[in-house]
Symmetry: C2
């Protein structure tokens, strides 16, 4: 086993699918260091030949075959890429034939469809959702809250903002978020602006130690970041969620993607 | 060919990889309407059995085999999923064996690695980058601009903010953006705060008609949204970019992902 293995994500588009596919597979191998390079927009035979020259050069100089994850659609480009001195894994080689068989029709072989502007409506929905999320972040504005599909509530620094932006950017969900203030938490009251929107609420909570850690990076030594304050706010937040039947999740050990997946599922939100 | 084909993205984690993989493949088939459902966190045999009951029910009632894209790692879970009345396409079935052979080691079969908190350092970098992007959006703050890896500049509504947030959230790039004001554009000057940071700049431009359309959604009938004003600002912005050797791209027909891929490549930015 070599110390470092070179990995290439090759695509005629952005390379996002190749990165996601390959990245996921490589998480299954521990103790190997992967040196990853994305080569996007490889959409002509000429670019494919330059790519292969580069990959072969790496193969010769590193002494181990590079691993190539490819999502190129064009047959001619792919045929060239396949000639490299690498382990070549191509998404289309593998899966397009069975789907063509299942659907009884040929694929279009159109390049750059997955992450381009092919679906203008879906694209515009994501931009609109992102602008909405930015304008309403952290309760900045109560204007047009009725337009929201989802309103995240939580004490400060439980992950509201990144989750909101992720849902907007990735899925076009009209999401926003609202802080729970000391007054809300002490009185176990919902912020006034949210009282008409209870069906859209989802709560986040965390572990006191984790929240203390996150808040301490921002304001070290403050009451805000103290363990007692964090524990108090989280306890009251959970009481508040239960009181108003707001579904919630503990985000302490979850990534943004995981929180987003739970919220989408719980609130039955559809991707745009 | 049936009118609508049911598609499931099944995963023991968030389902992001299955969605990306399957979504990309399905863009290659036109004229078929796909009804997509993501089933995340299918990480036990019991959940797999419920999933299969549901998929089989859909198969029977819709009259066409559903298509299932799976990224589940657990062998037992996968064996159950494979029994459904569906076209079953599994990422691990296909690719893990060749990679194991290439690396000369077995995969770990650890669940939820791809989009979870497995890599805490990478995760924290993304959150830090997102906070940085939010605090500095649209030139709100010049504080800590020296920390930025990338500063996008452009006239209003060319795509600075969504691209910045995408780069931060997806790739952990410390990106920010700065507007070009009328004064900057007229005098062909860089904003003062950016003069020390010229090597980090990347410019966006657009087409006058496209910019007019985007601005009109925000402020219909305004001078800001007029074709003449849009054309003037874009022309001056391009002159400014050329004057200061700022690389730039026309974002008019590009998705956020495509702009981000171009910027990463041009500025040789590394994903975190």
């Amino acid at each position: 086993m070599s110390a470092q293995r070179k990995v290439f994500f090759v695509s005629d588009g952005t390379g996002i699918t190749a990165e996601t596919l390959g990245g996921t597979l490589l998480t299954q191998f521990e103790g190997v260091e992967f040196d990853k390079t994305t080569l996007p927009f490889i959409n002509t035979p000429a670019k494919a030949r330059v790519t292969i020259e580069y990959i072969d050069h790496i193969a010769d100089s590193s002494g181990a075959r590079p691993i190539v994850f490819s999502t190129t659609v064009n047959e001619e480009v792919r045929a060239i890429l396949r000639t490299g001195r690498a382990l070549f894994m191509d998404l289309f080689d593998t899966y397009i034939a069975p789907i063509e068989g299942e659907l009884g029709q040929k694929s279009t072989h159109a390049q750059g469809r997955a992450h381009g502007m092919a679906n203008a409506g879906r694209y515009q929905a994501r931009i609109d959702a992102m602008n909405f999320a930015m304008e309403h972040d952290d309760g900045q504005s109560s204007r047009e809250l009725a337009r929201a599909d989802l309103i995240l509530i939580a004490p400060s620094r439980c992950g509201k903002t990144p989750t909101t932006l992720y849902l907007a950017l990735q899925h076009g969900v009209f999401a926003t978020n609202f802080p729970l203030t000391e007054d809300d938490l002490e009185g176990l009251r919902l912020p006034k602006a949210l009282q008409e929107e209870r069906s859209k609420l989802f709560g986040l909570t965390s572990d006191p130690e984790r929240l203390m850690q996150v808040r301490s990076e921002r304001r070290p030594g403050s009451k805000y970041a103290s363990l007692a304050q964090c524990a108090y706010e989280l306890r009251q937040a959970e009481r508040l969620y239960r009181r108003f039947n707001v579904p919630f999740v503990n985000s302490a050990n979850m990534s943004i993607e995981e929180i987003a997946a739970v919220v989408m599922q719980e609130k039955e939100l559809r991707r745009q």
